[in-house]
């Protein structure tokens, strides 16, 4: 007993992979090795390392940018389009009153609410807590509401928010600072985190997912210059640029769309991980499924169809735009298809070894989830709170690897073959049908 080898202590399936050798390991787990490990471990850690190395100079640059921001003290328009958001408005105005950056106007557009929102909004406007409250009797969709707010904005920068979010005291200051780093930055995305992560398992898993894809994922893509989506919940835009691109187009997925429009007009998009916004994630899987179907459909609608010109070698061709969309489409759409091919490959070619492959696969993803979580830990400014989520990281393989993949596949199928996003009640039919006919 005293001379038990390491092999004896490990489960049989692990021993199996030690015995068969690396070559077969790579052959069987090619999907993991080629795509997942390289992209989410190697690249993330390289960027994290560079990020750490450049931390000091970045801090200095930011300090100068902050100084410039406060010496210019630009007038900013905070716009919040929404429907039936009245119940959130008072809290939101209180949260914004706490901001360290104060030179802003608050414009709220009520997009045909059928609850008490108009009464609440008008009252808050009379009390001076909202600078302009615009009520649309007829619902026109989020894009039109945002465009209406944009039309009446007087600020040099537009900060677009969702009504049900709350913000760190320095969130607006932080989201504006990058504009003073580089003149070519046209828009800045804020960091969205889940506020209600204690509500349910569903919310906890999303909290981890947001940390991975939003917080860390966007630091990496932003660093690589391929950052492709500014969340509708929290983003800042240069008014002159947003005017020149004609504001928002019809959604769902308008936040990703406007980011691409900014990129196409030659501006850089920056992710600001320190500008923190907390949002409520769906706490039930049913609601989450609906939300994800909508988000995933928009990848096909906007990134594969509407903005396909980015992939064409024409006069406006730009490598970073190409990579930005291509990475997005590749890692979501292509890899999704490839994953199913991978499954078939394993089932047909390694039927006999499935009892070693399946547990190994889960082990790999399990380990990868925790390794990724470590990178989140490195980047995060809320480490203590987020420790609470660590035990749930073990479920992420099932959540992202299985649940979200199935939802995504369904969404792609529906959108690719049936253009179902145009039927989504999220946007009114009257404009969706027009957008569909116009191929937008």
């Amino acid at each position: 007993m005293m001379f038990l080898s390491v092999h004896d202590l490990m489960p049989e399936y692990l021993n199996y992979w030690f015995v068969v050798g690396l070559q077969k390991f790579i052959r069987v787990f090619w999907y993991f090795v080629l795509f997942e490990f390289t992209r989410y471990i190697i690249i993330d850690y390289i960027i994290a390392f560079i990020f750490w190395l450049t931390g000091r100079s970045r801090k200095e640059k930011f300090a100068i940018a902050k100084q410039k921001l406060f010496s210019e003290n630009p007038f900013v328009s905070v716009i919040i389009p929404g429907k039936n958001e009245g119940k959130h408005l008072y809290k939101l105005t209180k949260s914004l009153a706490e901001q360290t950056f104060k030179n802003f106007e608050l414009i709220i557009v009520d997009d045909g609410s059928d609850d008490d929102t108009p009464i609440i909004g008008k009252n808050l406007e009379e009390l001076g807590l909202i600078d302009m409250f615009i009520r649309n009797e007829m619902r026109g969709g989020k894009a039109s509401a945002a465009n209406l707010a944009l039309r009446y904005s007087k600020g040099k920068y537009i900060v677009h928010l969702d009504a049900d979010c709350s913000f760190d005291r320095d969130a607006i200051e932080k989201v504006l600072t990058p504009f003073y780093l580089d003149d070519k930055i046209g828009a800045v995305g804020g960091n969205v985190k889940v506020r209600n992560y204690k509500d349910s398992l569903c919310a906890k898993l999303q909290a981890i997912e947001y940390l991975k894809t939003v917080s860390v994922g966007r630091i990496v893509t932003s660093y690589l210059g391929i950052y492709k989506i500014i969340s509708g919940a929290f983003g800042a835009f240069r008014k002159d640029v947003i005017d020149s691109v004609g504001g928002w187009d019809i959604g769902p997925g308008l936040d990703g769309d406007i980011t691409v429009k900014f990129r196409k007009s030659g501006y850089k998009i920056y992710f600001q991980p320190e500008a923190i916004c907390l949002t409520n994630a769906p706490s039930k899987f049913k609601v989450l499924t609906k939300q994800r179907l909508r988000w995933d459909k928009s990848i096909i609608r906007f990134r594969v169809r509407k903005h396909k010109d980015v992939y064409m070698p024409n006069a406006n061709f730009n490598w970073s735009n190409f990579f930005s969309l291509a990475e997005n489409v590749f890692y979501n759409v292509v890899l999704d298809i490839l994953w199913w091919i991978y499954i078939l490959d394993i089932i047909f070619n390694y039927t006999g070894s499935l009892k070693f492959i399946i547990p190994m696969n889960f082990t790999l993803y399990f380990v990868m989830s925790y390794v990724q979580m470590l990178s989140i830990y490195i980047f995060s400014e809320r480490r203590k709170e987020e420790k609470y989520l660590w035990p749930y990281v073990s479920l992420m393989t099932l959540y992202t690897g299985t649940y979200l993949r199935i939802v995504r596949t369904a969404a792609y199928y529906k959108e690719f073959f049936f253009k179902r996003s145009y039927e989504d009640v999220w946007n009114p039919y009257k404009s969706s049908i027009k957008a569909k006919r116009a191929g937008l």
Binding site: K122, M132, R135, G140, K430
Partner: protein, 458 residues
């Protein structure tokens, strides 16, 4: 049978079934008449000015029985509704007999009334108005009038108020309603200038920020296909609508575009808003009123109630007795002093037993009240004290916490009523005040022959 009699004094009377009605075309014709001898009047002029003077002369006559006499309008002439409401109808002189029944009814009712013993002007007007309503069995229903400051003219009562006193008129009617002499039925609300109570107001929308009325409304256009939303003027191009974002033509509302809202812009301060404010300019005094500053008053018809009728036939009052400088407790202090002085003299003669008592208490809490509340309190405490006194006792008050009582023909052994006052008043005050237990101080003095008034009121 119609009798038209032309007198030497140029007055014209119609005598029908024993009732004499005077045809009047100018106020001077009334001044030369014994109005009490007449049974009514017929306005015989087409001059609105003369008619107004005559109506006012009759209806505001100091003798109520003259003021309430039937007053008709000769059907030959057209008088405005503001004048008609103060009269008893339009008569055709050729068929005057058919109106006599009405004259008889009114006359009978007028004669059943006592002369009012009221002195206060407002109460007198109230009384006269109730009497007018009673003698005509009439609901006082106002008519709209451009000439009135408040836009409404009331029958009879309006004649007692100048145009700028219309709000006082409404207040007086409201008081009569509160006393239940008149019942009120709402017909309208009026809004009056905060400064002059005028009703001739011009309402305009204004900028909520700078109050300027130079504002413009813009319809918003929402272009469905590209989600562009902007004022309609942004879309206008060569008589058509073209989207400034996607250059497409907007042809069909509901299919290509819609108009979800309206937004105003201020030409003075460039403020943009959706809910304009509202200002009303008084055309009489040029005051700008915000809507919430306007005085809102209720306009309605008034009808006499049973309590109103009782007021008219109350033998004691002949209307409501107006008491000026209402006495405190029972009688005022000066009169009380005279009575006490008299009582001292009486005691000298009769050697009787009378007692003078002084009831006092101290309260820091009540001391803080305003003089009006103190007066009300004084009355209330006076009533309490009185309730324990005999009819022959006399009460007077110096202030809310100092009362004098004269107890004639009362021996010192018969003062249990003062003990009752002591106990109950102390309890009443302690129950109602948060202060510690209230101590009532009662000083008793048997009136002696050697006393004089300074003994009690130093």
């Amino acid at each position: 049978m119609l009798n038209l009699v032309r007198h030497n004094d140029n007055s014209r009377k119609i005598i029908q079934d024993g009732y004499a009605l005077l045809l009047v075309s100018h106020k001077s014709e009334l001044q030369s008449q014994q109005l009490t001898e007449l049974d009514g009047f017929i306005l015989d002029t087409d001059s609105h000015v003369h008619a107004k003077e005559i109506i006012s002369y009759v209806r505001t006559h100091t003798n109520l029985k003259v003021a309430l006499k039937p007053l008709f309008i000769n059907g030959t002439y057209q008088l405005p509704k503001e004048q008609q409401i103060h009269c008893d109808g339009i008569v055709e002189l050729s068929t005057i007999s058919s109106y006599i029944q009405r004259v008889a009814t009114i006359t009978k009712r007028v004669q059943s009334l006592n002369d009012p013993k009221l002195v206060a002007n407002q109460l007198l007007i109230q009384y006269k108005t109730i009497a007018y309503s009673f003698t005509r069995n009439l609901q006082l229903k106002p008519v709209t009038s451009r000439e009135s400051l408040i836009g409404y003219e009331f029958p009879f009562i309006s004649l007692f108020y100048k145009n700028n006193e219309a709000v006082e008129l409404l207040k007086n009617l409201q008081k009569a309603t509160e006393k239940n002499y008149l019942s009120f039925k709402l017909l309208d609300y009026i809004h009056l200038c905060k400064s002059c109570s005028g009703n001739y107001l011009n309402f305009r929308e204004c900028c909520p920020k700078c109050d300027s009325i130079d504002i413009e409304a813009h319809d918003m256009v929402h272009h469905f296909v590209c989600a562009h939303v902007a004022p309609e003027k942004d879309f206008k191009k060569n008589d058509g609508l073209e989207c400034p974002k996607c250059d497409k033509n907007l042809r069909h509302i509901g299919i290509d575009y819609d108009k979800p809202s309206t937004i105003y812009s201020c030409n003075s301060c460039s403020h943009e808003f959706q809910n304009p404010g509202m200002l009303s300019l008084c055309m009489d005094c040029s005051t700008e009123n915000k809507l919430e500053e306007l005085l809102q008053k209720s306009i309605g018809s008034y009808a006499i109630t049973q309590a109103g009728e009782q007021l008219l036939f109350d033998r004691n009052t002949g209307g409501e007795r107006v008491v000026y400088n209402e006495g405190i407790g029972n009688i005022n202090k000066e009169l009380f002093k005279i009575i006490v002085n008299q009582e001292i003299k009486r005691i000298k003669e009769s050697k009787g037993n009378s007692v003078f008592a002084n009831v006092k208490f101290q309260s820091n809490q009540l001391q803080l009240l305003n003089s009006r509340s103190k007066n009300a309190l004084m009355k209330e405490i006076g009533e309490v004290i009185k309730s324990y006194l005999k009819d022959s006792d006399i009460l007077s008050a110096e202030s809310y916490n100092n009362y004098y009582v004269l107890l004639p023909e009362t021996k010192e052994t018969q003062l249990n009523r003062l003990e009752l006052i002591d106990y109950n008043l102390s309890k009443l005050l302690s129950d109602n005040l948060t202060e510690e237990k209230q101590e009532i101080e009662i000083t008793i003095h048997k009136i002696a022959e050697s006393d004089n008034i300074q003994t009690y009121f130093s």
